[in-house]
């Protein structure tokens, strides 16, 4: 489940019209959501609040062995009009599951954001400030986001901790998103790591969209493998550290179906690390409105190590109110409104070939959002249950 602060940050991205999926780092988001979900450990309590459209606070208290907690504050220059009460937040927004990608949007024109008043431009770039202090460990996390232009965003993040070398590190990330392709440049102060990422979407170029082609499905395919209802993307990343004289590269490929696709939406990815000889393929399908399945297969051509992980996500539908149940049955089939918010719980499970099983149950109880998690190790006969945790979250 997304923490409240991450939820607010996502809302900021959405409000400032930034497509977080159009990046090479988000190539395998669906598989990561379905297979690499975080299982809570110990007891944790979150209390959050969106005191004003621009300001959010959150406090957490956890007892994972020792009692620890954190305070976090967030400021957004543009007011966020989102549902913030824990009883109102839609569960699908909090629980990351199958990521349905939308059609690419043409990036906004630069002058669309201009606001003039009395001859002066008074619009301001969207910015977000976020800080988190962990106690008692005295670790400080800070984040600064700034929408420099409709196609560019700067992200500065830093961690300060006495136990880290040099007292901490900072990361600067400059993201450019032009619709058809996107690039990222990053620099980390920790060992002076330089990074470069790029993603290219084959097929339809939203920048060339002109008014005479409103329907995506009727346009002619730009090239032979341009599926109308699917998008093929390819990307690569490279890192280099002049201090360590080390680095890494990887490249990846993704094919995902678009909303116009008839049938079950599915996503396939393939990522390769040519230096280390790592191959990783994932396949995720949304088999119905309330279920999604995913599998991943890793293989190393040098060391012949392999790994298989499968995961499932099940949504629990809200039971219709007893007094209205008879009426909803009488509704004509085609007229039934898709109730947006008709789920009140989700069960996630993942299992790998080494006998490790992870279970996560997230639901809303009255006004609280509860997530229960457990990790098992089936290979160990005497101690199968590894870790159990519960997180309770309340926001207002």
């Amino acid at each position: 489940m997304l923490e409240f602060m991450d939820y607010v940050q996502t809302a900021f991205h959405a409000q400032s019209r930034w497509n977080i999926d159009n990046s090479y780092a988000a190539l395998t988001t669906t598989a990561q959501n379905l297979l690499d979900f975080r299982i809570p450990q110990g007891l944790r309590l979150h209390v959050s609040s969106l005191s004003s459209p621009s300001f959010a606070t959150s406090y957490t208290l956890g007892s994972n062995g020792l009692v620890d907690g954190s305070l976090s504050f967030l400021y957004s220059s543009s007011g966020l009009s989102i549902a913030s009460k824990s009883s109102d937040i839609r569960l699908e927004h909090l629980v990351r599951g199958y990521r349905r990608l939308q059609e690419l949007q043409r990036p906004d024109e630069l002058h669309w954001n201009e606001i003039w008043h009395q001859g002066k431009r008074i619009d301001r770039k969207d910015a977000l400030l976020y800080g988190r202090l962990y106690l008692p460990g005295s670790t400080l996390e800070a984040l600064y986001l700034r929408r420099i232009s409709p196609t560019r965003m700067l992200r500065l993040s830093g961690v300060s901790d006495a136990s880290l070398p040099n007292g901490g590190s900072a990361l600067a990330l400059l993201q450019n998103d032009y619709g058809k392709y996107s690039t990222e440049y990053l620099y980390s102060t920790d060992s002076a790591l330089l990074g470069l990422r790029g993603l290219y979407n084959f097929g339809y170029d939203p920048r060339t969209l002109v008014s005479q082609q409103p329907q995506h499905s009727t346009r002619a395919p730009a090239h032979p493998w341009d599926h109308q209802s699917g998008r093929l993307s390819a990307g690569a990343e490279a890192y280099f550290s002049p201090i360590n004289k080390s680095g890494g590269v990887s490249c990846g490929l993704r094919f995902t179906t678009l909303p116009t696709h008839t049938g079950f939406p599915y996503t396939m990815t393939l990522t390769v690390n040519p230096l280390m000889g790592n191959l990783s393929t994932t396949y995720a399908v949304q088999a119905g409105r309330y279920m999604a399945l995913c599998s991943r297969f890793d293989f190393n051509v040098y060391s012949y190590e392999s790994d298989v992980v499968v995961g499932v996500e099940l949504w629990r539908r809200k039971q219709a109110a007893a007094d209205v149940a008879w009426a909803s049955k009488l509704v004509r089939p085609g007229w039934s409104k898709v109730v947006e918010d008709d789920v009140n719980g989700v069960l996630k499970a993942q299992m790998d070939d080494k006998g490790k099983v992870g279970l996560l149950w997230e639901c809303r109880v009255k006004e609280l959002l509860v997530s229960l998690g457990a990790g098992f190790d089936l290979k160990k006969r005497e101690r199968m249950l590894g870790s159990v945790g519960i997180e309770v979250s309340y926001s207002s």
Partner: protein, 589 residues
Amino acid sequence: MAFNFNWSPLIADTDRVRDMLTSSLNKSPKPPIIVDDIIVNELNLGSTPPELEILEIGDLAADRFRGIFKMSYTGDAYLTLKTRVQANPLNTYLSTKPSFASPQPLAASSSLTIPLQITLSDIRLSGFVILVFSKQKGITLVFRNDPLESLKVSSTFDSIPFVRDYLQKTIENQLRVLFMEDLPAIIHRLSLRMFNSDQDIQDAKKELVDDRTPIDPLASPALQPVDDGEDSFDLAPLSLDPPSETYASFSQKNLLRLATLSESQRTLSLFTPGMRDTVFRAWANAADRADASSGYNTPLHRPTLSRIQSTLGGQSGLSSSAPSQTSEAASATSRPSLATAVTGASTYTLGTSGSRTRPRKRKHRVVNLRRDHGGADGSDMASVSSGYEDSVSRSAGTSVEPSLAETEPTTLPSYMSRDGEISTPPRSPKKKVDFKASSDGGRTNHDGNATIRARPVTPRNPAAQPHEDDDATPRASAYLPEKQSHPPQQLRRQQLSRMQTVPANPHQRAYLPRSTSELSLRGMAPGFASPAIESSTGGILEQAWMMKMANEIARKVKEEKGMQAVGWRRSESVSGASDGDAPPPAYGM
């Protein structure tokens, strides 16, 4: 001064060393590049030991040692380690960083683990090491400086020069840290384990040794001390070749016995482990203080202690200084020889030192505490500078051979001549006769040839063969009016008879190589005889009457002594006290 290493036992025990090295390598947090445990595959200590050169010795004792050495090692030891390492540097870099400010690459930080085998060879060490050895606390070895000079690292990555150099550099640094910090702890633990197991082995051997057949020490003298029985230390001074590595291995059993003896002085317990074939100066003193009941223990203990301390403090080899230090109660450290062990030290130092001390002027080391007695009477003759030895020789001689026995009375006058010296009261010739009569069959030869005899035996038959004593005991006549001299003698004899080493076994006494003492005593005999001849006075009749009186008094004293049981007397045979177990009186005939 050089060291000779017995390098093989260390090689034989590499399994334990390997396990300890493995656990110590994995105990400290490993760098993230090492994915799996570090396992010591093979450890070979090579064929050449390190060369040690002593620079300084700070403390030297039987059970502890401290010294500074200069060590250099140019051997062919090698060590093989096996582990798995992470080949993706980005993975090791990012795994230790917080995820909030990390670039979070998609697949560039995927892990690749490679098995790695490293062989360290051609180790060259040179440095200063402080070695502290303690019986209870084991061995501690600390390097004063960084000893590692050079090292050859060969691994599965030898074909990649970058990795090879990196490994060489990293491992050299790690080894330096290991030598300075981890190696002392490992050696300490290993030494503790070895000492404990060695102690168990020695205890197991002790039971086997107690019923071994006797060895004729002269038949084949040991070239170096071996712990093959209770008599092992007795062999040391008899070896034909002076042992060059005398203390390459201490005899566990004898060390234990010595420790028991020394500790018996520090407790309130009345028990004192007896020592075989020993002569105690205090027996003579105690005989004088027969009426003082408390006089027994302390004089007995004091000489015992001095003897023990003297033997404990020493190294091998009899030295002529041994007899001179006998009378010093606390001369512990400079005692010449550990080999002059408790059991037979007195005998052998006597044997070998007698001739040496003969020409020397005797030092007046013993104070005559008995002022009221006549100067000659209280002379504890046996306890003068060559006291123990002489007394033992006398006792030995008296118990075995008439010739030797003769020397005893003949020496007494010479002792008497010194003033202020406590010497054992002269013994009547009857004592000598008693010894002879009570000697075990075959133990002594009447012809005076020395045979193996365990220890002098208290006289059993007081009325035996007075006529064999050709040389009239001038002492007997000289001290005729001093009746007290005899009871002390008797008492002393009683003490001697009571005192014996813990495994009191008359048969064992026969196995003690006393022959050497007798040899040397025989050598001394002429020396003894000469003063005897010149000082002999009195006729045979007087002599006979003296002997009779002495016997009666001895009998009375024995009965009296039998009432006062001394704690450490094992077999309490008061009457006559002439059982074969008890050693003969030190200063008797």
